[in-house]
């Protein structure tokens, strides 16, 4: 089963989720992720699963909350404005320690924004998906193959750490087709003794809940959750390094913009500029170890994003003042070109030589 097939990113997300054992999908139409829902609508019935178009994004995430509470692998998908609506439910899932997968095929914002690809929900995904002290694991694929691989992984991570996991994609990755090798369907799943399935008179009642009126008890749950986050930070950071070893300028980019950055890095190398690329794959936990290590060797960093500068904050935290960290980005749904990204690398290279004074 290693045959390559041609699939749209949105469809690959759906197929891989099904192969990961997801049998409950709750969604609401929004561009540019609609193919995902349409694919699920066609496939879920045949897999004995449930596809349900909810009355709103809010209802959809709460249906995920219910199905996940029952111990099932469940998922919802949307695009930026819809994810804002899901923020409440995501916070409740985090508070109730429920696993589940949320897909964000990002588009430009704020507000209704536009429908072209964007990465402007980085802050929302890594900082403030909803109220309260919590994090999601956030995975950022950059190819259709990675859409497949990481949604498959997302369900395992969600179950292992009892946390919602977000796939942060964008309209470009969702809409494009590339060859993919699909994973073998998963057949074995972890036990979930905490799930509400009816106690059958054999145990005391399970409760899925995020309410703790005693401050001490609530603090305990927060501390326990952050201990789990510490384990995630220690073991799950993931990044790809490309030509970083001898790089003077390390470009940092994720998802769609990393593809453009890679082209620009190659062109910079052709021009004799020692550029490299670090591509964070987990946005939370942010791969600070890799960035921090690179800061020992590199002369400067350039963060390239499809927004006004969000991940650059995390790069600066990881570099911690040791080297300059610059930013280049396009917003509004515009994909930066390799040429303008190269120009940003060249400007930074010149400034390092003192030529830009």
């Amino acid at each position: 089963m290693t045959e390559k097939v041609l699939m749209k990113g949105n469809e690959a997300l759906a197929e891989a989720a099904i192969r990961a054992g997801c049998r409950f999908f709750f969604g609401y139409p929004i561009t540019p992720q609609t193919e995902l829902a349409a694919y699920m609508a066609k496939r879920m019935g045949k897999e004995g699963g449930v596809y349900l178009q909810a009355e709103s994004e809010i209802a959809a995430i709460n249906m995920v909350y219910g199905a996940a509470g029952a111990g099932k692998r469940a998922m919802t998908s949307s695009s930026s404005p819809g994810i804002s609506l899901k923020g409440e439910g995501i916070s409740y899932m985090a508070g109730a320690d429920l696993p589940g997968v949320i897909i964000n095929v990002q588009r430009g914002g704020p507000g209704l924004g536009g429908i072209q690809p964007s990465q402007s929900d980085y802050f929302q995904a890594t900082r403030a998906t909803g109220h309260g002290d919590f994090h999601l694991i956030v995975l950022a694929p950059s190819t259709v193959q990675e859409m497949t691989d990481y949604v498959f992984r997302a369900f395992d991570l969600a179950d292992e750490y009892r946390t919602p996991v977000m796939i942060l994609a964008d309209g470009m990755l969702g809409q494009m087709m590339e060859p993919v090798v699909l994973p073998e369907p998963k057949t074995e799943f972890p036990e979930k003794p905490w799930a509400v399935t009816g106690h059958k008179g054999q145990r005391s009642h399970n409760i899925v809940n995020s309410l703790h009126l005693q401050p001490e008890r609530l603090e305990e749950t927060n501390i326990e959750r952050y201990e789990r986050y510490a384990r995630i930070k220690a073991t799950e950071q993931l990044a790809e390094e490309y030509l970083v070893e001898d790089a003077d300028i390390v470009v940092v980019a994720f998802g769609a913009s990393s593809r453009i950055a890679r082209s620009a890095v190659n062109k910079a190398r052709e021009k004799g500029i020692k550029a490299g690329l670090i591509r964070p794959i987990t946005l939370w936990p942010f791969p600070e170890d890799v960035i921090s290590a690179a800061a020992d060797r590199a002369k400067a960093f350039l963060t390239v994003e499809m927004n006004m500068g969000q991940m650059v904050d995390d790069v600066r935290l990881a570099v911690c003042g040791r080297k300059p960290v610059e930013f280049y980005g396009r917003a509004g749904g515009i994909i930066p070109t390799p040429a303008e990204t190269l120009a940003a690398i060249e400007r930074l290279a010149e400034s390092l030589e003192g030529g830009a004074r």
Partner: protein, 198 residues
Amino acid sequence: MIMAQPLNILLAGFGGQGILFAGKLIAYAGLIEGRELSWLPSYGPEMRGGTANCSVCLSDEPIGSPLVLEPDVLVAMNQPSLDKFADSVVPGGKIIVDSTMCARLPERDDVTIFPVPSTQLAEDAGLKGLASVVLVGKMLREIGFCDPVALDQAIVKSVPAKKAHLLGKNRKAFEIGMLNEDGDSSPVCSLPDGWVAE
């Protein structure tokens, strides 16, 4: 001779002209030949009857940006698309034009232009709606980006099972493009021996 260089293709026209489908044929041919490729459509409300375009990249290396801004090959199926994108074609590039739909050709002498009345040719042959496939045939003849057999397999893969009766028509449209001599210099690709369209 099959070229192995990376090839960035931009196809553009009105929604409904088969732009995305033509791009898909090229992408599938790449898949069948085991190459790296990407296919990226424009999307959104302008797709409902407005302009449609589609970027296809073929390469032997992983594809960086899938968005084709400086195409090696432009396939233009209407005047606005031709006017909009003709200047972005790289020097030495190729422009394949549906000349039924485009009266004015670009004034560039550093690119090769192949005007093919594909809409007319398709209609004359009873293949209404398959002009884009004619242009893919023409593109293959002039650029030879894949083995014609791979492209035929791509047609088989791209025509959905419930529309199997359209398979022969697609092959016929492809053949018309492959045999077209308009603007022809020295074709780099031809139909395989013993080819039968229907």
